[in-house]
């Protein structure tokens, strides 16, 4: 009898938990859309500036999200550009070259890196910038370059892990095919193994993009500012969407600005969801081990 009660309780409990989580999240999203849908229009992004003029960089946007969106875009492109070559090369090294001992050590290091709180990486980036400023060049301070490098540290483990997993998942017979035909190790990697892992690596890259677009803690320490206009150079400060949302949430001046915050949240949410679904579509059953990120 006691067991029956336990079993029934389990069922009720499970449904209840599902309900709570779903209602929690739908409340979150519902509230966001309820509050923010009214602000979703072109002037949210471009303010009073004609969109075309803004996109062609002919005219500046002051009241809209355009500089923040552009800043996020540039930031993501830069970070990914740093992370991809290192990430893929390291993934290849781990999967194809590293001996078991080396691999154990490197694996542990990347595990630690992938579990690192992003604020710690931000702090590292910030103090590194200050360090460079003091000892190297007056021109360097917290800026786009530093932010993108710090962000690339943040997402490097994603790309390493997906590359490594994709390569290691290739069955032995395929691995041996080209080798038996006289391929060198490098030929095998680039002509057979990498082409077969493209989807895995791509999904890792897209996740990394999502991560870069979403992160706030790193950029608030390394160069994102309240107002900067479009980023001009690697050494300039910039605006970014997630930082904008954070900024608005704590210091909106009036309800209009607050509405912008809701709008920005919805835009960011859509952006991330889109990236996420794309990554998922590219590679179904993508492990969330890769998603994990404090």
């Amino acid at each position: 009898m006691k067991t029956r009660i336990l079993e029934n309780f389990t069922v009720v409990f499970a449904w209840l938990a599902g309900l709570v989580l779903l209602s929690g999240v739908s409340l979150l999203l519902g509230y966001l859309f309820f509050k923010g849908h009214a602000s979703l229009n072109l002037s949210l992004i471009f303010g009073d500036t004609p969109p075309l003029q803004a996109l062609l960089l002919k005219q500046r946007v002051f009241e809209g999200l355009f500089p923040a969106v552009a800043g996020t875009f540039v930031l993501v492109v830069l970070s990914i550009a740093w992370a991809i070559p290192f990430g893929i090369a390291t993934g290849i090294y781990l999967a194809e070259y590293a001996g078991p001992r080396v691999k154990r050590v490197l694996d542990a290091l990347f595990d630690v890196l992938s579990g690192m709180p992003s604020i710690v990486i931000g702090l590292f980036g910030f103090s590194f910038a200050v360090f460079l400023h003091k000892h190297y060049s007056d021109r360097i301070g917290p800026c786009l370059l530093i932010s993108s490098i710090a962000l690339s540290f943040l997402v490097l483990p994603y790309i390493i892990r997906t590359t490594q997993a994709a390569l290691e998942g290739i069955p032995l017979n395929i691995r041996l095919t080209a080798l038996a035909l006289g391929a060198t190790r490098l030929q095998n990697i680039f002509l057979v193994l990498i082409p077969r892992s493209v989807s895995g690596i791509m999904s890792g890259i897209i996740l990394a993009i999502g991560r870069c677009a979403e992160d706030t803690a790193v950029i608030m320490l390394t160069g994102a500012v309240a107002s900067a206009g479009l980023p001009r150079s690697l050494f300039s400060q910039y605006e970014a969407l997630p930082f904008f949302i954070y900024y608005i949430s704590s210091q909106y001046a009036d309800s209009e600005e607050l509405m912008q915050g809701y709008g920005a949240s919805i835009v960011l949410l859509f952006l991330c969801a889109l990236l996420f679904v794309t990554a998922y579509g590219i590679r179904k059953g993508l492990s969330h081990f890769v998603f994990y990120r404090p």
Binding site: F13, L21, V25, V112, T216, A273, H288
Partner: protein, 286 residues
């Protein structure tokens, strides 16, 4: 000719692996290096147990450690039952289509940006908590923990589901053939077998809760005091870094955030090695 190409490539891969992995080491080195003057002066241990009162010259991060502990523990208290329940639903209890849909949805939820949780939390949950308990400002440990709990639930649920999936099919078939209902299968076979994997999920989720900055910064109130109840404000290590980074670079305030960095770093390392150890133990058992 070709040999050289091979060698160059291998060296390149090796170098980039070394460069990438040196980041992990470099971060620790930097934290220690920057925090060293203060740690030397006050002693690392002293920093860990003293309060934060910059005007009295005390730069301890004890309140932040306690704040971090409270908020992340409480968020686990929120997230654990939710994740357990949701993973039960997905594993056996819900009908196939529902369970599939739920799983997709939860996977998608892991992609919601953190700042959005914080943003909605401020305007939705904070006033609600304030009026519900008629005490405090609503910016408190409880609010932060609730939002954080919801935030880490998807990750934890997926880890649970994962450890359920790893149970050998034969165990499940055995139970089914003996007339176990879905719930019984879950309670008497799946759950006992998946314990270790689930512990992994909990530890990783804890790591995530401790490492999160935005939710605590936006919702916990950031007061530099050991919270006396869940309705009082508190500051986490991560939020402390974000707040004090503005201070004078040479000041002990600024140095103290590197102590926070070191603590967070060591915690991450602990989580990582614990998880690795557990996975290793699990791998060996099979």
């Amino acid at each position: 000719m070709k040999k050289i190409g091979e060698l160059v490539a291998e060296r390149t891969f090796l170098l980039s692996a070394l460069a990438s992995s040196s980041i992990t080491v470099a971060i620790l080195a930097f934290m220690v290096f920057m925090g060293l003057p203060l740690m030397k002066q006050a002693g690392f241990y002293q920093l860990l147990v003293k309060p934060w009162a910059p005007y009295q010259g005390s730069f301890g991060i004890y309140p932040m450690i306690v704040g971090t502990g409270c908020i992340s523990f409480l968020s686990l208290v929120v997230a654990f039952p939710l994740s357990l329940g949701c993973s039960f639903l997905i594993a056996t209890i819900a009908p196939k289509p529902v369970s599939k849909g739920l799983r997709r949805l939860i996977e998608l939820m892991t992609g919601i940006p953190t700042v959005i949780y914080g943003f909605v939390g401020i305007f939705l949950l904070v006033p609600y908590i304030r009026e519900l308990f008629r005490s405090g400002s609503g910016l408190c440990v409880l609010t932060a923990a609730l939002v954080l709990g919801i935030m880490i639930t998807p990750t934890m649920t997926l880890f649970f589901c994962d450890s359920f999936d790893r149970i050998p099919r034969s165990y499940l078939t055995a139970a089914e053939a003996l007339g176990a209902s879905r719930t019984q299968k879950l309670l008497y076979v799946i759950l006992p077998c998946a314990k270790k994997g689930m512990l992994n999920g909990v530890i990783l989720a804890l790591g995530r809760a401790v490492g999160d900055t935005l939710v605590a910064l936006m919702l916990a109130g950031n007061s530099v005091r050991v919270p006396g109840s869940v309705l009082e404000p508190a500051r986490t290590l991560t939020a402390h870094i974000a707040l004090v980074i503005a201070a004078d670079y040479e000041s002990p305030e600024f140095r103290s955030i590197f102590a926070c960095g070191v603590v967070l770093y060591l915690f991450t390392m602990m989580v990582t090695f614990l998880v690795r150890y557990l996975s290793f133990a699990e791998g060996r058992r099979d």
